[in-house]
């Protein structure tokens, strides 16, 4: 065989040796013509893809319970109140590394927020109503009137005495505020909803995908509701929050079940995502749902620092910018019309870590 056939095989390989000058001479005009044709074919699709990122101008959703003057200030954290039976509960004062819900709650009252966002696992170990009443209520519960919660895995746990399936303790304690789309529901509720806070659109989601009807995949009731909600979202800035992060350096490794929802948020130009579950603080660079760093991506914060205990990092996830696992505290967000400021406020008891900055909405 002549070497030419060898060259042709090499041409098909991704890491081919240098091609024959003859082939190059023949191939360049052909490739050029094919490229022009391909660009022409791809052009309408490119326009369609770009259009998907543009907002539709339709309606708004629920309005926040409190009217605000000036830019709203939001305080958020997850993984909060220890069970009163916990060995480290210590009458609600906790120990140096556990059960610090009293100290983080003090930061809520000290900073006078417009809204409080508990990011799931609000009450350990199983979120029973009695535990809520004994531990969460005297601490974070003091802000209940301005609280917009999301549910976590521990509220669904049933291995504690008195635990009732379907996060009954959580939905009973928070009532309609935890699932406003089902005002009379007290167990096995969907637990997702949206509202307006100042100029921002806020979306609370349920990431316990095995506990809600249809899961979280594309086409599920929650994902379909989200897409509809986003299609009527006229706000320049949108924040979404739920319990289990998609991206994390923590022990959970991220929850792939939330990928379709994250994709919807990215497509709709949502600026911020807040999560808990991993018991540390982590901030990511803007990224898309596939983990690619992109300027118009979603900025994710993991704020599992509400007081229960500290977690640890297994690795450093792609696009992770800031991490801390030894300071309890809350994330403060000041929501401007087209931008936001963030600051991690340490509880002043466990550590002094902080992180702050500003960014424009995408």
């Amino acid at each position: 065989m002549t070497p030419r056939f060898v060259w042709s095989w090499e041409f098909l390989r991704p890491q081919a040796r240098p091609r024959s000058p003859t082939l190059m001479r023949l191939g360049i005009p052909v490739a050029l013509a094919a490229t022009i044709f391909a660009v022409a074919m791809a052009w309408p699709g490119s326009l369609q893809q770009a259009g998907a990122h543009q907002r539709t101008n339709v309606t708004t959703s629920l309005t926040a319970r409190l009217t605000t003057t000036g830019d709203p200030v939001v305080l958020a954290a997850g993984d909060i109140a220890c069970d009163p039976s916990d060995a480290s509960y210590n009458g609600g004062l906790g120990t140096s590394k556990r059960c610090q819900e009293t100290w983080t709650a003090n930061e809520l009252s000290a900073n006078a927020p417009t809204a409080v966002l508990p990011l799931g696992d609000t009450q350990y170990n199983c979120g029973t109503l009695s535990a809520f009443d004994a531990s969460y209520d005297p601490t974070w519960g003091q802000q209940k009137a301005i609280t917009y919660p999301v549910v976590g895995n521990h509220e669904y746990a049933t291995r504690c005495a008195g635990a009732i399936k379907g996060a009954a303790g959580y939905f009973t304690y928070f009532g309609v505020e935890a699932t406003p789309l089902q005002p009379t529901c007290t167990a096995k509720c969907e637990g997702y909803y949206s509202y307006t806070l100042g100029a921002w659109h806020m979306i609370a989601l349920n990431s316990e995908c095995t506990k809600i009807s249809g899961g979280c995949a594309a086409g599920s009731p929650e994902e379909t509701w989200l897409r509809n909600d986003l299609s009527t979202d006229t706000a320049v800035c949108t924040l979404a929050y739920w319990h289990r992060p998609l991206f994390t350096s923590g022990t959970s490794g991220g929850d792939a079940s939330m990928q379709a929802i994250f994709q919807d948020l990215y497509t709709a130009h949502v600026s911020l995502v807040l999560n808990g579950h991993d018991h540390e603080y982590e901030r990511f660079a803007p990224q898309d749902a596939n983990g690619n760093a992109v300027a118009d991506g979603v900025t994710e914060f993991v704020v599992g620092t509400g007081g229960a205990n500290h977690g640890s990092f297994v690795t450093v996830a792609a696009n992770s910018v800031v991490r801390n696992s030894n300071t309890f505290g809350v994330l403060e967000l000041t929501l401007h019309a087209t931008s936001y400021d963030w600051q991690f406020i340490p509880d002043g008891h466990s550590g002094s870590f902080t992180d702050s900055g500003s960014a424009a909405c995408v």
Binding site: M41, A256, S257, A260, N290, G291, V314, T315, V316
Partner: protein, 215 residues
């Protein structure tokens, strides 16, 4: 003397025949250099056209509505989460794999980044991460199987514990999604098996797979 049949008329005829044969031989020897160039060039042109098509398709995958070859499917995410183990309410198990997201701090190059942890009250009992060969993750129909021993992998980083055998089979309710280039699809699936000696329970497991069409 009459010429014998051996010497007469056949001589010149044979001589002409030999001349024709010689000409044919000459032609056969000389023509291929010219004639065979045409099919060779045609073959080369076909090869170049095919090669250019492949190259363009790689650069602009959206150019063709019906690609000649199916897009390679990569596993963007594959995970299993257990929050509530029987008789061990404070234990949690988490494992995740990715062929596209580099959470292991090293270029993937077709390998998988594997992360796992078993925690007791958020304290890691077993935890680690590292790259594993693609051959340790097998996809067949609607199932994906992972069999690896992190204790034997020198490149594996053990954050807690010494690692060990991980054997998990994920099963999708239907065949795994086929996705176009540069897009992704997520599906919720079931997971069975064990992570370093701890069995994944039959209930209260969260697991999902995200398939990504390679660019």
């Amino acid at each position: 003397m009459m010429p014998s049949r051996r010497d007469t008329p056949a001589g010149p005829k044979r001589g002409r025949a030999r001349t024709r044969e010689n000409r044919r031989l000459v032609l056969l020897a000389a023509w291929p250099r010219h004639l065979l160039r045409v099919p060779a060039l045609l073959c080369m042109l076909a090869v170049v056209l095919f090669g250019a098509g492949v190259a363009v398709a790689r650069i602009l995958p959206h150019a063709s509505a019906a690609p000649a070859r199916p897009t390679p499917q990569l596993i963007e995410r594959l995970d299993a989460h257990v929050d509530d183990l029987a008789n061990m309410p404070d234990f949690e198990m988490d494992l995740s794999l990715s062929q596209t997201i580099d959470d292991c701090g090293a270029p993937l190059r077709g390998q998988f980044c594997l992360r796992y942890s078993i925690t007791n009250d958020d304290v890691p009992v077993q935890a680690g991460y590292g790259l594993i060969p693609a051959s340790q993750v097998r996809v067949h129909g609607s199932t994906i199987t992972l069999v690896t021993n992190t204790a034997r992998d020198r490149g594996f980083v053990h954050v807690a514990g010494r690692g060990g055998l991980i054997s998990i089979t994920w099963t999708a309710p239907r065949n795994l999604p086929i996705v176009a280039s540069r897009s992704a699809a997520m599906g919720e699936i079931t997971a069975r098996g064990s992570i370093i000696g701890t069995a994944i329970p039959s209930s209260d497991v969260t697991a999902a797979v995200v398939i990504h069409g390679a660019p």
